[in-house]
């Protein structure tokens, strides 16, 4: 199977601090990988590195066939990142945000609307500026933007944090859909039950390196793929 992520001794600094201190990681295409580790382990930096938003300060790496040294510009449009910062415009309404990013991604208006439906964003909220939404509601919008862009690699940083039951279910559903379409998913999460039910494998990070990689004991989607 094609390799989606290939990192060897990857070092990545944030503000002079080596957040990643030599990560080795292999992810094959179609995997749903759960990243675990204590706060400050380097999960967020790893996801930003894989999104092409942080530069590699040591080691080597390839993501979706793009070299992290010189081909990050080719990589980025194929990657979707849902982070702590939602990367949306606070002053625009929900629809305007979605329409803008859909237009840049070449997606249609219908797809944008479908994504909002999928994330169960009520029609009442759609013409409201983002500033007036709660954190959980905003996260749904960010997830909808992600869905519209249909990336090949999904990088989710604590996607369940701050969401209510239906929001968690919607995000988990989104991840399953993506995996079913053959996309690769990396998600960092402390919320073990919600995350591990979709994950096929778990990787532990600590002190900026991968300390252990284990197959998930039982995983429905892994069985489905192996079959």
């Amino acid at each position: 199977m094609e390799s989606a992520v290939w990192l060897r001794d990857a070092v990545c600094c944030r503000g002079g601090f080596p957040a990643l201190a030599g990560v080795d990681l292999d992810v094959t295409e179609g995997e749903v990988l759960l990243l675990r580790g204590p706060n400050g382990a380097g999960k967020t930096t790893l996801l930003r590195l894989l999104a092409g938003l942080a530069s590699l300060d040591g080691g080597r790496g390839t993501v979706l066939g793009c070299d992290l040294g010189g081909e990050r510009r080719e990589l980025r449009p194929q990657v979707g990142l849902l982070g702590h910062d939602l990367m949306l415009y606070e002053d625009l309404t929900v629809t305007e945000n979605l329409r803008f990013f859909a237009a840049l991604a070449g997606a249609s208006e219908t797809e944008a609307r479908a994504a909002l439906e999928r994330l169960e964003v009520s029609a009442r909220l759609r013409e409201v500026s983002l500033r007036r939404l709660s954190a959980g509601q905003r996260k749904r919008i960010a997830a909808a933007v992600l869905a519209v862009r249909r990336p090949r690699l999904w990088l989710l940083d604590e996607p369940h944090a701050g969401l209510d039951e239906s929001g968690r279910a919607a995000v988990s559903g989104l991840v399953r859909d993506a995996a079913a379409r053959g996309a690769t998913v990396l998600l960092a999460s402390h919320e073990a039950p919600a995350a591990s039910e979709v994950a096929t494998r778990t990787v532990h990070l600590a002190g900026g390196i991968v300390v252990s990689a284990a197959e998930a004991a039982v995983s429905p989607s892994a069985e489905a793929r192996d079959a």
Binding site: A51, G52, L53, A54, S55, R72, R73, R76, P77, V79, G80, L81, G83, D85, L86, M87, L88, Y89, E90, D91, L92, E96, F100, F101, A103, L104, A105, S129, V145, R149
Partner: protein, 222 residues
Amino acid sequence: MREALLVAAKDLRIEMRSRVLLFQVAPFAVATLVLLGFALDADRSALRNFSPGLFWVAVLLTALLAAQRSVAVEHAGRAADALLLSGVGPARIFAGKALALAAQLAALEVGLGVAMVVLYDARIEHFGLAVASAAAATVGIAAAGTLYGVLAAPMGVRETLLPVMLLPVFAPVLIGATRAFGDALGTAATNGWAWFGLLGLFALVYAVFGALAYGPLLEAEA
């Protein structure tokens, strides 16, 4: 081009919603004009004679704030990352942001122009020259402002660093635009169209330079 227009429209829409320029920057610009009037002792003929220079000083100070705002819009909530991930070419992002900034500056200049006529008793004798040189200057200011704005963007010292870097670059614009307006307002005997040429050259140079340099800068931020 379509993407550049999308980015520009997005910036203008954000301004329409937030009204930061209208309610914060525009009053600042007018207040600057008023203070400059106080500084010159409200001598009517002196004010009229200096009106081109005072006008452009006010415009440049205003442009600093507008450029900062244009960058701040992208950095709140890391929307700049989303633009990067969208795969839009950096030259197009630059064009879009500069276009939006130019449009906002043009609107501010119209307001300031009216204030100048009212407060300083300025008389616009050559309207075409005034509009043309203002347009050229605005494009130059917007291009330089967008480029240097992103230079200072990611650091915690944006408010202090941006003026230090940008104001020296604005110096030729101030000289050229003041002289061109001097001709247009009949306060200086120079060839205003020649200065318009200089402003156009500046605009062209910084537009091309900005379009080329924006990519490495965005990469540097990532």
